[in-house]
């Protein structure tokens, strides 16, 4: 079984982002970049399937600037066998390559690579759209198992447990299929130094969007990006009695 794992270079989740002073977007110059955390879970899941003898090859693919090779190499250190970078200088967080365009790019790659399974993050932590996996499933005409917290593959049958409002839902999907990962699917491992060294030698193909016949003209115009309304700290109360008194008489919420 061949698994395709799309990943994305995003601002590291620990970084406190800053809105650009001209309100055109987020200032991402000189900030730490990482693999989108949900995508890291996707790579880990693919690697576990390979370790269990259920997958034969893992291909990590990304769309982004030249430097996205760093994230492909990290995926390779975790266990991806080879990588594909679709190189673009268009912004990939806001106002550039949108989920639909990403899905079209990935469809073109899937048509070429014929994977049996695509595992990807449920959303990227920059644009927060939560669309790409569902869109890709639609374009390929495949089944989708979104927000997965458990994945079981046995003799060609694929069962996925999904995190839904109110609890969990288990589906059986026809393959090939798309899985999007939720947080509790697994705990990604840290890449070890020897694996990081080995990753440097794994094959990484760089292609252009035009090679795949996809167009990155945005459909959504970013009119402006602003700071959210801030909430300031209130007061500290000294005791439970004081808290109850304030909630009853000042805030009037109980």
């Amino acid at each position: 079984m061949k698994i395709l794992v799309p990943i994305k270079r995003v601002v590291d989740y620990n970084v406190k982002i800053r809105v650009k002073s001209d309100n055109s977007g987020i200032d991402i110059a000189n900030v730490k970049m990482s693999i989108n955390p949900f995508d890291e879970i996707a790579i880990e899941e693919a690697v576990r399937l390979k370790e269990a003898g259920k997958a034969s090859e893992i291909i990590a693919v990304t769309i982004g600037p030249e430097k996205s090779q760093e994230q492909i190499r990290t995926a390779m250190a975790i266990g991806a066998d080879r990588g594909i970078l679709v190189k673009t200088n268009a912004p990939i967080d806001l106002g550039g390559v949108e989920p639909l365009a990403v899905a079209k790019t990935l469809k073109a790659i899937a048509d070429k690579e014929n994977p049996d399974l695509i595992i990807m993050g449920k959303q990227s932590i920059d644009d927060d759209s939560n669309q790409t996996g569902q869109m890709l499933a639609a374009l390929l005409g495949w089944a989708q198992g979104t927000f997965a917290s458990e994945l079981e593959i046995n003799d060609g049958s694929l069962q996925v447990t999904r995190e839904i409002d109110g609890g969990l839902e288990t589906l059986e999907l026809k393959t090939p299929a798309i899985i999007t990962t939720d947080l509790r699917l697994n705990d990604p491992r840290y890449a070890k130094l020897p694996d990081i060294m080995k990753a440097k030698k794994k094959p990484l193909e760089i292609i252009e969007p035009s090679d795949l016949g996809v167009d990155y003209t945005p459909r959504l115009e970013i009119v402006s990006v602003n700071e959210p309304p801030t909430r300031s700290a209130g007061i500290k109360v000294e005791s439970v009695d004081a808290l109850i008194d304030t909630l009853k008489n000042e805030a009037k919420v109980i």
């Binding site: 569902q134 839902e169 589906l171």
Partner: protein, 309 residues
């Protein structure tokens, strides 16, 4: 302007999230139709017809639609789409799962999780976990949109008398098959629509200790929430999680107990009207957003609060 709202339901009850999505449709303006797709879902279609201001209910009632799988719902939306300028659903796990599948088939760039309607083609939506707000303008001829339910008022569930029109759905794709649900059963109000939410974090320490959170919640008639840390530690089920990747809540009163206030958690609750934090660490970031903070050991303060309230 004509909007189609995708109803969320379990074949017996229309979910309140749908009323909030209709609230956003009202802001856009024009006629509003509702799609109720399910199996033996006539009671839901009748309830939808009672909602104030609805033009028409379209009912797709067929056994394969019982579990409303995205693979089978999306083609219905696509088939109906040409009659509409806007197609909306709540940004719940149902809406998030289904609408992008329809959007791709319509070659439309969906707008996720809007928090305001600026005009018929311009919307505000949070990005970077709510640390920035983007105003986006769509150039697509049909706009597919998911709606953050906490930021739009619910439409009035009564007072309407829309007609119900039958729609015969195409055969199932049979790409996916429902196996089972494991749903939390609770007498408490639903987390995303509760007036009061009591949430526990890692500081609560164990599944057993969560009983003190439950007691306080029951005294207040509140829903129970949790931080990601508490969910990951197995104290409570995943659907209790409040935060960027869990539920977004905005109750009148949010009580955060033993929650440090990681940015991911704040993204899910900072629009609450009044926030109370109880934490023994006076430097916890949660105090930076709390209207009222109490620096105390939660194992003393919470039972005392529950006893005296």
């Amino acid at each position: 302007m004509k909007t189609l709202v995708i109803a969320e339901h379990d074949n017996t009850e229309l979910k309140s999230a749908t009323l909030h999505a209709i609230g956003a449709a009202i802001k856009i303006g024009g006629d509003i139709d509702i799609l109720v797709a399910g199996s033996n879902c006539d009671i839901v279609a009748q309830a939808a017809a009672q909602i104030s201001g609805i033009n028409k209910v379209i009912k797709a009632d067929a056994p394969p639609l019982e579990h409303q799988l995205a693979e089978d719902i999306a083609p219905i939306i696509v088939d109906l789409a040409s009659n509409y300028t806007h197609i909306l659903s709540a940004a719940t796990t149902f809406g998030k799962n289904t609408l992008p599948r329809a959007a791709a088939l319509l070659d439309t760039q969906q707008i996720s999780d809007i928090i305001s309607v600026e005009s018929a083609d311009t919307f505000k939506r949070p990005v970077y976990a709510g640390n920035a707000i983007a105003t986006v303008k769509s150039s697509d001829s049909i706009k597919l949109i998911t709606v953050r339910t906490t930021t739009f008022d619910a439409a009035d569930a009564a007072g309407g008398s829309a007609s119900v029109e039958d729609y015969s759905a195409p055969a199932s794709s049979e790409l996916s098959k429902f196996i089972k649900h494991e749903l939390s059963t609770s007498e408490r109000p639903e987390l995303t629509s509760a007036k009061i939410v009591v949430s526990g974090g890692r500081g609560v320490g164990s599944e057993e200790n969560f009983a003190i959170i439950e007691k306080l919640a029951d005294k207040l008639g509140a829903a129970i929430g949790a931080s990601r840390a508490a969910v990951d530690a197995g104290y409570v089920p995943n659907d209790y999680q409040v935060g960027q990747t869990g539920k977004i809540v905005a109750p009148d009163l949010y009580i955060a107990i033993g929650i440090s206030g990681a940015i991911q958690h704040l993204a899910g609750m900072k629009d609450s009207k009044v926030i109370v934090a109880i934490n023994k660490d006076e430097d916890a970031p949660i105090f930076g957003v709390a209207d009222y903070g109490l620096v105390a050991d939660l194992f003393d303060a919470v039972p005392e609060l529950e006893g005296k309230i």
